[in-house]
Amino acid sequence: MKPPITVERHPRDKLLRVDRLPHIWCPGCGLGKVISAYSKAIDNSGIERNKHVVVSGIGCSGRASGYLDLDSYHTTHGRPIAFATGLKLANPELQVTVISGDGDLSTIGGNHLIHAARRNINLNVILVNNFIYGMTGGQASATTPYGAKTSTTTKGNYDHPFNLPFLMRAAGATHIARWTVLHHVQLQESIEKAFQHDGFSFVEALSPCPKGFGKKNSFRNAIDTMHYFEQRSELEENPELTQLEIDMDPKSDVIVGEFFAEEKMPYFDSKDRFFHYIGGHQA
């Protein structure tokens, strides 16, 4: 007989659609930690809850929006940043956060990721990087490490992965951070910083995918990736961005930290330089 599911009140419940729980994510998945960090950051943000909007794409991470009790938009594969761009432009008062995965945002949606960064539009992108397409059964993505085994690279991945912080810096993002989901407080603080930052924020959250990635590679058990993150994470404040590739080799370090932040004219201010349209007339 199945034991009854007991749902107890949790401090984060008020930001969750508790009537949708339990969620669909596997035991050992890091997505819950991302949701938790994001919702704590919302609590701390001092920004009215109704102004927070979350947009996601397709995949395991894409389901994030559906569990958050906010205005939430679950869009098409790869397109949440483009969708969020429209939302933000139509109402700049909204605090728009995109939560989606490496497959969604950096692979099929890579074009929108770089162009939103280029525009320095005030969006917060939380890219949950688990190095794999989880929902479709563990196929290689644009962040799958070189040599890693996936269900479409059974002998080892012969494609080179993106170094996302470096890519984002080149594309024009003005706030770049990376943490593992083990760095819960730091992740939360980087998300809070993203809310405050006037410009495009990119927060990469490294997350275990025990079923899709871990067990085919060096992390047999769900906890092994977390142990790896615990033992090999290295905090660097000003790292050489070209050196931030992740190979998920148990002998390699994972560089984490608040990597980059600069003040650069954000999208709306930049446009205002050329168009002063208050009152309906160009100055």
Binding site: D71, R79, A82, G86, Q282
Partner: protein, 376 residues
């Protein structure tokens, strides 16, 4: 906004100005021949009107952005041509599923593929109706004159807001780049429809309430905490990916168009009273057909035209009725036979096609020759 008066303007520019009058305050697009003049006009006009323009990185992004803007409350539009529509199709399905009101202008050009960017065609008629996967419906207006670029753009926004569906304006290269007189009525005489929204603080609000065909639409930031998804969903917006959930949602989405079909469909009858041959035509092509019919009438031939101002939803009843009045229907279009198929499906008389590979309209003389041949 354009004030009351007569203007000498390009069809594409008229669409842009009419959109602004209709309330369009967000435009996202990617340049493409022959639709670019719409984006060019919007790029400064919208800022003057307190709206937002953005040139997106591609048409996929353009379509996604206008849905996002619509969810934030802005009446939103994009403009493109056939290749751009091809890229937008997935998100057109998203707009349909989320029930986000959006307007898509398709200034048609020769296809397939890159085809003939600078020459006309009516080859996207089926693409907009059937191109996205699954069962869905769109409303598609098809202007035939620059004046209709104005009138039907207003109607397109009104229909999008009223029914919460993606609405197309199917112009073509000739109409988009044609300059002609357009009359703009007094603004207060133009009927503008805005979407229904729930009251702020309404705790009983269900975003996809199935007791009504078109539920009110919550706007981001107003505290309704809606979940909008492309997944099959229930009244709360929560995923309900099972046959019952699918049936419940799809039947409402279908009914909201087909139970209002008489409100949506617009047709013009031209010299049909005593016609033995009826020509079905739409868009620029209808101009040639009209001229040919005038010439045929001078020769005593009983021919008329049923002109579709809306192509989708298909006017099933009207075509069936027409087919009982005439001996034969000829569908004239600048493609190799697209609208002729649904006409055949609903007509009980003989239906023939006057097709064109694209790049030009049928000259009236050619339509006339074919009329004479069919009426022999």
């Amino acid at each position: 906004m354009l004030e009351e008066g007569t203007y000498f303007m390009k069809g594409n520019h008229v669409i842009a100005e009419a959109a602004i009058i209709a309330g369009c305050r967000f435009f996202g697009a990617y340049p493409i021949t022959p639709a670019s003049p719409i984006a060019e006009r919007m790029s400064y006009r919208l800022f003057e009107e307190g709206g937002e323009f953005i040139q997106m990185e591609d048409e996929i992004a353009s379509m996604a952005a206008i849905i996002g803007a619509s969810c934030a409350g802005a009446k939103s539009m994009t403009a493109t041509s056939g290749p751009g529509v091809s890229l937008m199709l997935e998100n057109i399905g998203l707009a349909y599923m989320m029930e986000a009101p959006v307007v898509i202008v398709d200034v048609m050009r020769g296809g397939p593929s890159t085809g003939m960017p600078t020459l006309t065609s009516q080859g996207d008629i089926n693409q907009v109706r059937w191109g996205s996967h699954g069962d869905y419906d769109v409303i598609a207006y098809c202007p035939s004159t620059v004046q209709e670029c104005f009138d039907l753009t207003i109607k397109a926004f009104n229909a999008a807001e009223k029914y919460r569906v993606p609405v197309f304006i199917m112009a073509d290269q000739i109409l988009g780049l044609m300059t002609s007189n357009v009359k703009v009525p007094r603004l207060r005489d133009i009927k503008i429809v805005d979407r229904e929204t729930p009251m702020d603080g309404d705790d009983t609000y269900q975003p996809y309430d199935s007791s009504t065909l078109v539920p009110p639409m919550a706007i981001a930031g107003h505290g309704h905490h809606v979940l909008m998804t492309g997944l099959t969903h229930d009244e709360r917006g929560y995923p309900a990916t099972n046959p019952e959930g699918q049936e419940k949602l799809m039947s409402r989405l279908k009914r909201k168009i087909y139970e209002n079909i008489d409100d949506i469909v617009e047709l013009e009858e031209f010299m049909l009273e005593d016609a033995e041959l009826a020509i079905v035509a739409y868009g620029s092509e209808a101009r040639s057909v009209r001229e040919a019919i005038k010439q045929a009438r001078e020769k005593g031939l009983k021919v008329g035209m049923l002109r579709f101002k809306t192509i989708w939803p298909f006017p099933e009843r009207q075509v069936n009725e027409l087919s009982r009045r005439v001996k034969k229907i000829m569908v004239a279009e600048v493609n190799l036979g697209q609208l002729v198929h649904p006409v055949r499906e609903y007509a009980v008389c003989e239906v023939v096609a006057l097709t064109h590979s694209g790049g030009a309209l049928h000259p009236p003389a050619e339509v006339l020759r074919r009329i004479e041949e069919e009426m022999k």
